[in-house]
C-alpha cells in the first residue's frame, strides 16, 4: 500500500479517537451546575448548610435554589445575551473567642447596572441577597458610587459576581 495512503489512514484514526474523546469530555448542555458562595467566591456545588446557591446551565437563565434539584422552569437566554448573577454580602472577620469569619447576605437592595456611563437597568436582590440579570453582550458597571464591579457580558455565558457591601470586624 502506498505510504501516502497509510499516513492518511493513521492520521484519520488518530483524529477520530481524539475527537471522540474531546466530545465525550464536554459536559452535556442540559446539565444544571450548582454554585454556592463561600464567603469569598462562588464555588461549585450546592451549599452544605442549606443556604441558597445558584443553578447555572448553558444558554439558560440561572436560578437561585435552596434545595439541590433541577429547576422546573427553564428560560432560554436570548441570542446574543449573557447573564450577570451574584450576591450582595457583608464580610465578617475576626473573633477573639471563636471564629467570627463568614458573611451575611443583603436582601432587597437595588443595584444600578450601567453601561458606557449611562444607567441601563436597576435590579433588586431577592430575599436571599441574590440577583440575576440577563443583558445584551457588552461591558457593564454593576453598582454605583466609589465601589463598583466591571463585568464583560458574553453571549450565552453566566458571570457570577460576589459584591461585598460592607466589612464587619467581630472580636
Amino acid at each position: 500500500m502506498p505510504k501516502g495512503i497509510l499516513f492518511s489512514l493513521a492520521f484519520l484514526v488518530c483524529t477520530m479517537i481524539y475527537s471522540t474523546a474531546s466530545a465525550a469530555a464536554k459536559r452535556p448542555p442540559e446539565v444544571w451546575n450548582y454554585y454556592h458562595f463561600d464567603g469569598v467566591a462562588f464555588t461549585s456545588g450546592s451549599a452544605v448548610d442549606g443556604s441558597a446557591f445558584i443553578a447555572v446551565r448553558e444558554k439558560t437563565r440561572p436560578v437561585v435554589l435552596t434545595i439541590e434539584t433541577s429547576p422546573s422552569e427553564s428560560t432560554p437566554i436570548p441570542e446574543g445575551s449573557g447573564v450577570i448573577a451574584g450576591i450582595c454580602y457583608l464580610q465578617s472577620t475576626g473573633g477573639k473567642l471563636g471564629s467570627g469569619s463568614g458573611f451575611k447576605s443583603y436582601p432587597r437592595v437595588p443595584l444600578l447596572i450601567s453601561t458606557a456611563g449611562k444607567p441601563f437597568v436597576t435590579v433588586q436582590t431577592d430575599d436571599l441577597g441574590y440577583f440575576v440579570v440577563v443583558l445584551p453582550a457588552a461591558t457593564y458597571t454593576v453598582g454605583s458610587g466609589p465601589a463598583t464591579a466591571e463585568i464583560s457580558v458574553e453571549p450565552g455565558i453566566t458571570t457570577l459576581v460576589p459584591l461585598r457591601v460592607g466589612k464587619r470586624m467581630a472580636d
Binding site: 459536559r27 467566591a41 467570627g100 432587597r108 453598582g143 457570577l160 461585598r164 460592607g166
Partner: protein, 601 residues
C-alpha cells in the same frame, strides 16, 4: 504491511490510554462537587474571572438602608424587627432607649428588658463615659476620630453578644469620602451588654468594657482612614491600642504564644487566635513603636488613607509599612522584621517594662543535644523552608564533648540569620564569618545555650530555605519567588484540569514537594517553571481544546508518578521494541545488500 499494522496498533493503544484522561473533566467535577470543594470546569470563565472583574463593595444596600434609617421610627415594631434583621441593624430584645455620652460624641442604644437588658443605667453611663475617655485618649495620640453620618453622635449598641462569643463588633456603614480621606466610611459598634458571662471570666466587666471600647473604636477610626484596610493589620493595631490606652488589663499578651510557637507562618496571615494571625501580631507594632515612636503606627494608617484600592479589594499592608519605613525612617520592613525576630529572643523591650515577663519566650523549632548536627543523622532535619516575613529558632544544648561549636549555614535568597549565645543569663550575638554563612562559639561547653535564628525577611520569596550543620556539611538551596495570586500552584496543570483541587493536580503538587523541592536541580526547575508558566497557563485555561491537549500531554507524567514501576516497565518495553525494530530493519537492509552483491557476482 506488518510493520505498518504494528505501528498503528501501538499508536491506537497509546491514544486510547492517553485519551482516558480527557474524560477527567466531568468526572472530577462530579467528585469535587460531591465533596463540595472545587470550581467547575464548564464555567471556568465565570469563576476564574471573579477576582479581577469584581472591584468591590458596590454599596448596593446603602440607599435603601439609608432610607430605612431615616424612616425607622415611622415603622411598626414588628416591621422594624423584620427589616432590621434583614439589613443588619441591631434589634434589641426590648424597647430601645438611648443616652448620649457627656461629651456628646457617642449615643448608647440599650434596653432594660429581655436578653439584651443592661444591668443598670449606671452601667450604660459607664459605657458612655468609657467611650468618651477612649476618644480623648485617641485625640491625645493625634488619631483622627471616626467619622459619623451627618456629624451626629457615634452609635453604640449594647446587646447580648455572649452566645456569639464576641466582645464587640464594628460594622462599616456609609462612604463619607473627603479630599483627604477618599475611602473613609462611617461605622457603628455592637458591644456586649454586661460582660458578665463566663466566657469573659478572666477579666472584670469594667476591664472587658475598657479594652473592647479601645479595640472596637479603633476599628471605627480605621474605617475613617480607609475602608480598604488589611484585616490582619487592623486587628494587630486595635489590639496594640488596647494596651496603649488600658495598660493594666493585659489580655493581649495571651495572643502572643500562638504566634511564637508558629513563627514559620507569615506576618500577614489571616487573623486567628489559633495561629496568632492578626491579634498576636500586635507585638510587632510594639517593636515598631519602640524603635520609631508610636506615631509611626499612626503614620502607616495615614499613608494607607492616601492609597487607592487595587480593583476594589483590600490594600495589602506590608508594602505600605515598607514604603513608610523606607521613605520616613531610613529603614525597611525587611530590616525591622529581622530586628523584631532578634528581639523575640533578646527581649530587650524598652516600654511597658513591668509587663516584659508576660511576653512569651521564643519557641525553638528544634533543640539539638547530640553532635554533630547535620542532614544525615539529626532529627528533626536541620533545614527549614520559610514563607515571606517568617522566622524559626533552633537551640543547641551545650555538650561537654563539644568544646567549640561551629554552625555552617546554606541559605537561599531572602534568608537572613543570626546566632546568639546565652551564658549566665547574659545574651550576646555571635559575629558571623565566611560571608555570613558560619558562626563559631569557642566556649560552647560553658554556655547556657546557643540559638540560631533563621528568618525570611522579604516578600519576594515565598519559599526561601536554609539548612545548617555543625560539621560543615550543607545542602544546596534555592528560593522560590513569590507568585501573586495562589502561591505554589501548578499553573499549567491547574489550567488543564480546571481546578487546583483536581486529584491529578494534587498529585503533581505532591510530586513537586516530595521530589523536586528536595534537591537543587529540582528547585531550580520549579523556580524556572514558576517564572514562565503563568502566562502560558492563562492561555491554556481560556482554550478548551488546549486544555484537553495539555491533559493528554500530562498523562504520561501523571501515570509515571502513580505507577512508577509500570512506567519504567513500559519505557523499557518501548525501548526494546524500538531496538528490535531497528535491528530487524538493519538485518533486512543487510540481506538486501547481500542479494545485490550475489546478483552482481
Amino acid at each position: 504491511m506488518n510493520c505498518f499494522s504494528t505501528r498503528i496498533s501501538l499508536i491506537l493503544v497509546a491514544l486510547i490510554l492517553f485519551s482516558t484522561s480527557v474524560f477527567a473533566g466531568p468526572l472530577d467535577d462530579y467528585y469535587l462537587q460531591q465533596f463540595d470543594e472545587s470550581k467547575s470546569v464548564q464555567l471556568q470563565k465565570a469563576v476564574l474571572s471573579l477576582p479581577t472583574d469584581v472591584q468591590e463593595a458596590a454599596r448596593c444596600g446603602m440607599p435603601l438602608k439609608h432610607g430605612l434609617k431615616r424612616d425607622w421610627k415611622l415603622l411598626e415594631l414588628s416591621t422594624q424587627k423584620v427589616l432590621a434583621k434583614q439589613l443588619a441593624l441591631p434589634v434589641l430584645s426590648g424597647t430601645e432607649q438611648t443616652i448620649v455620652s457627656p461629651s456628646g460624641r457617642f449615643k448608647i442604644h440599650y434596653t432594660v428588658t429581655g436578653a439584651d437588658a443592661v444591668p443598670s443605667l449606671a452601667w450604660v453611663q459607664t459605657v458612655a463615659q468609657t467611650f468618651d475617655d477612649v476618644a480623648v485618649s485617641y485625640i491625645a495620640l493625634h488619631w483622627q476620630l471616626a467619622p459619623t453620618n451627618s456629624n451626629s453622635a457615634y452609635d453604640v449598641y449594647l446587646e447580648d453578644l455572649a452566645p456569639q462569643r464576641y466582645y464587640g463588633v464594628t460594622n462599616s456603614d456609609l462612604a463619607v469620602s473627603t479630599p483627604s480621606r477618599q475611602n473613609a466610611y462611617t461605622s457603628w459598634i455592637e458591644l456586649d451588654n454586661n460582660f458578665t458571662d463566663s466566657i469573659y471570666r478572666n477579666y472584670t466587666p469594667l476591664q472587658s468594657l475598657q479594652i473592647t471600647a479601645a479595640h472596637e473604636y479603633h476599628h471605627a477610626i480605621q474605617y475613617g482612614y480607609s475602608y480598604y484596610f488589611d484585616i490582619w493589620y487592623a486587628e494587630a493595631t486595635s489590639t496594640w491600642m488596647e494596651d496603649e490606652l488600658y495598660d493594666g488589663v493585659n489580655q493581649l499578651y495571651s495572643y502572643i504564644p500562638t504566634w511564637f510557637s508558629q513563627s514559620t507562618l507569615s506576618l500577614d496571615i489571616s487573623e486567628s487566635t489559633t495561629t496568632g494571625g492578626g491579634y498576636g501580631r500586635w507585638i510587632f507594632n510594639r517593636y515598631l513603636a519602640e524603635k520609631h515612636t508610636p506615631a509611626m503606627i499612626r503614620s502607616a494608617w495615614e499613608k494607607l488613607a492616601d492609597i487607592s484600592s487595587p480593583g476594589g479589594s483590600d490594600i495589602p499592608m506590608t508594602p505600605v509599612l515598607d514604603s513608610l519605613l523606607s521613605s520616613t525612617y531610613a529603614t525597611s520592613l525587611s530590616t525591622d522584621f529581622m530586628g523584631f525576630a532578634r528581639q523575640v529572643y533578646m527581649r530587650n523591650w524598652i516600654t511597658h517594662l513591668a509587663e516584659t515577663d508576660k511576653i512569651h519566650v521564643y519557641s525553638p523549632d528544634a533543640t539539638y543535644v547530640s553532635y554533630p548536627v547535620n542532614g544525615t543523622v539529626s532529627t528533626p532535619s536541620p533545614s527549614v523552608t520559610l514563607p515571606h516575613y517568617s522566622f524559626a529558632y533552633y537551640k543547641f544544648a551545650p555538650s561537654s564533648s563539644v568544646p567549640a561549636l561551629t554552625i555552617t549555614i546554606a541559605k537561599s535568597s531572602g534568608i537572613q540569620t543570626a546566632v546568639f549565645r546565652k551564658s549566665s543569663g547574659v545574651i550576646t550575638e555571635i559575629i558571623s564569618t565566611n560571608g555570613g554563612n558560619s558562626y563559631t562559639d569557642n566556649s560552647f561547653s560553658n554556655a547556657d545555650e546557643v540559638v540560631l535564628l533563621i528568618a525570611n525577611i522579604t516578600s519576594n520569596y515565598e519559599s526561601a530555605n536554609a539548612n545548617f550543620s555543625t560539621d560543615g556539611t550543607t545542602l544546596a538551596v534555592t528560593a522560590m519567588p513569590t507568585v501573586s495570586g495562589s502561591a505554589a500552584t501548578c499553573f499549567i496543570a491547574t489550567a488543564a484540569y480546571g481546578s487546583y483541587l483536581h486529584p491529578q493536580v494534587q498529585l503533581l503538587r505532591n510530586f513537586r514537594d516530595d521530589y523536586l523541592l528536595t534537591n537543587a536541580p529540582g528547585r531550580a526547575f520549579v523556580a524556572l517553571y514558576y517564572r514562565c508558566s503563568p502566562p502560558l497557563a492563562d492561555f491554556i485555561a481560556r482554550h478548551p481544546y488546549l486544555r484537553a491537549v495539555t491533559r493528554l500531554a500530562l498523562t504520561p507524567l501523571v501515570t509515571a508518578i502513580v505507577h512508577p514501576l509500570l512506567a519504567l516497565f513500559s519505557l523499557l518495553l518501548f525501548g526494546c521494541t524500538v531496538l528490535l525494530l531497528r535491528l530487524q530493519r538493519r538485518k533486512a537492509a543487510s540481506l538486501n545488500a547481500t542479494r545485490y552483491i550475489v546478483r552482481d557476482i
